[in-house]
Amino acid sequence: MTCLGIVALNTFREAVRDRVLYNLLFFALLMIAAAILVGQISIGIEHIVIVSLGLTSISIIGILISIFIGVSLVYKEMEKRTLYALLAKPVRRWEFLLGKFGGLVLTVVVNTAAMALGLFLALLYVKHSLDRGDLAVLVAVYFILLKLALLVALALLFSCYTTPILATLFTSGIYVVGLFVQQMKNMPEDLMGPAMAAFTRRLAYLLPNFDNYDVMGPAAHGQAIPGILILENTLYTVVYCAIVLSAAAVVFSRRDLK
């Protein structure tokens, strides 16, 4: 196994042994149970309510895990000096960093998969069967995972050079702004002025577009998600994560530990 894989598995093990993770998972399952309950009293639109509530809870829990664990991934290792003995092994700093990324993404994948399973069980309970239209829910879950991977990369970048509190603020801030990237691109010039509008447009291209990943509406209505969107979002996430993680590696590789 590569150094990257060894670090990733240990990061996953740490997350699994962390009780906070179980609490979050319990909370998510509770929300899905609530979705079933609400679905039962929503005559005719049970499917829409269950999928919307289920995907929302998966997304919120995933975001909480990604940000709150992500921002302390590297910082905690530096602060507690657990990194000292590790970096004395034949491990490059970027391998450690990518391992931490991989470990948290694996954690998020396992959690999301567990929650998605709960969602499909809820759907099965209400509808008594699953059909082709429910594949869109699976794609929506996949898009949530892509979004979470990008969030983990951003949290990791900030974790390399600032405190968890500031890193949480930065990551959350970028996430919120990233939900409105499309609006930033279309800022009216007469309202903002040409220079400001041009600046906002350019900034919008630099910021991660989290709005791309939102397909909750079509998924809830059982509409198929276009294959090209799946491809575009996958490539977008891979490229953006690569850029963010490269920046994190550069920052971390030059950093003096305390």
């Binding site: 093990r13 657990t82 000292y84 034949p90 003096d256 530990l257």
Partner: protein, 317 residues
């Protein structure tokens, strides 16, 4: 002459501080030093002298402002040489959600050992550091001394050729210190090179082939513990008996124990002192050379460094 296992050239570390980080504090100032293959090298100095900074620079935990170092002939930026190095950080702390056996197993994976080899080594190391019964307890329940032992186990787990230990005796009781000393001597017997930092001078005198004394970020002397102290304080001790109320010269400077007196004199004053004591009726029992201990040499350097720092501060004002 044996090949150097660790070669340090002009290693310098400055830390920026103050408004906009414009001021610089020199933590290590142009360190030049070599540790020979197969020797036990003690790196001694007071707190803040630059011992841990040097070790962290060697392990690439921090980066030098100037200079560089080579370990086993490879520049320290070459991560592959870490296969042959064992390192114990100062006051080590490990993943507290793991047991000692899990932690050692985790670290062993980086050295590409087979599963069977990993298992055998982990058990052997736990036994070696006296933790075989505590191997399955999570590290969060370990005392400081137990963590130190785990740290030592992970440092030597992969049979490294060079072992660098930062304050290995710190936090250990006398029994633990003795066990660490035994491990260091075992490693030496196996032909390993050991460099360790300490401020416990008796350990350094007992274990080291050579020591390097660092004070205020500068290396003040390198050599065998005996040789290094000879460089400084020299003197003679005269042990004599004098019955009755003597009025011998030097008597006021001597230390009396019963009928016996001990008198310290400079080497060039020895014969004059003996003559005068004999003339006063003293019986000379022995004359011996006074050798300063490593501790005295060390304290002398620290005092000189502090005096210099104070004078710089005063003149700066």
């Amino acid at each position: 002459m044996p090949e150097a296992a660790i070669e340090i050239e002009n290693l310098t570390k400055e830390y920026p501080f103050g408004f906009l980080n414009l001021k610089k504090k020199t933590s290590l100032d142009g360190l030049n030093m070599q540790v020979e293959t197969g020797e036990v090298f003690g790196f001694i100095g007071p707190n803040g002298a630059g011992k841990s900074t040097t070790i962290k620079l060697l392990m690439r935990l921090i980066f030098p402002t100037a200079g560089g170092a080579r370990i086993l002939g490879k520049p320290i930026r070459d991560v592959s040489m870490h296969r042959d190095i064992g390192y114990l950080p100062e006051q080590p702390y490990f993943y507290d959600y793991l047991t000692a056996a899990e932690l050692l197993g985790y670290f062993a994976r980086f050295h590409r050992l087979t599963a069977a080899d990993r298992k055998e080594r982990v058990q052997r190391m736990l036994k070696k550091v006296g933790l075989e019964t505590a191997g399955k307890i999570q590290l969060r329940k370990y005392s400081k001394g137990m963590l130190q032992r785990v740290g030592l186990a992970q440092a030597v787990l992969h049979d490294p050729r060079v072992v660098i230990l930062d304050e290995p005796m710190s936090g250990l009781d006398p029994l633990g210190r003795r066990e660490v000393r035994d491990i260091i001597l075992d490693l030496k017997r196996d032909g390993r090179t050991i460099m360790f930092s300490t401020h416990i001078l008796s350990d350094a005198e007992m274990l080291c082939d050579r020591v390097g004394v660092i004070v205020g970020g500068k290396l003040r002397g390198v050599g065998a513990p005996g040789q290094i102290v000879d460089m400084k304080t020299q003197g003679m001790e005269i042990l004599f008996e004098l019955s009755g109320a003597g009025n011998a010269p030097f008597l006021s400077q001597a230390t009396r124990t019963g009928e016996r007196y001990r008198l310290h004199v400079a080497e060039e004053e020895l014969y004059a002192a003996i003559d005068q004591l004999r003339a006063a009726g003293a019986r000379i029992l022995s004359v011996s050379q006074v050798k300063a201990t490593l501790e005295e040499f060390f304290m002398h350097l620290v005092a000189a460094d502090r005096a210099q720092a104070t004078s710089v501060e005063v003149s700066g004002k």
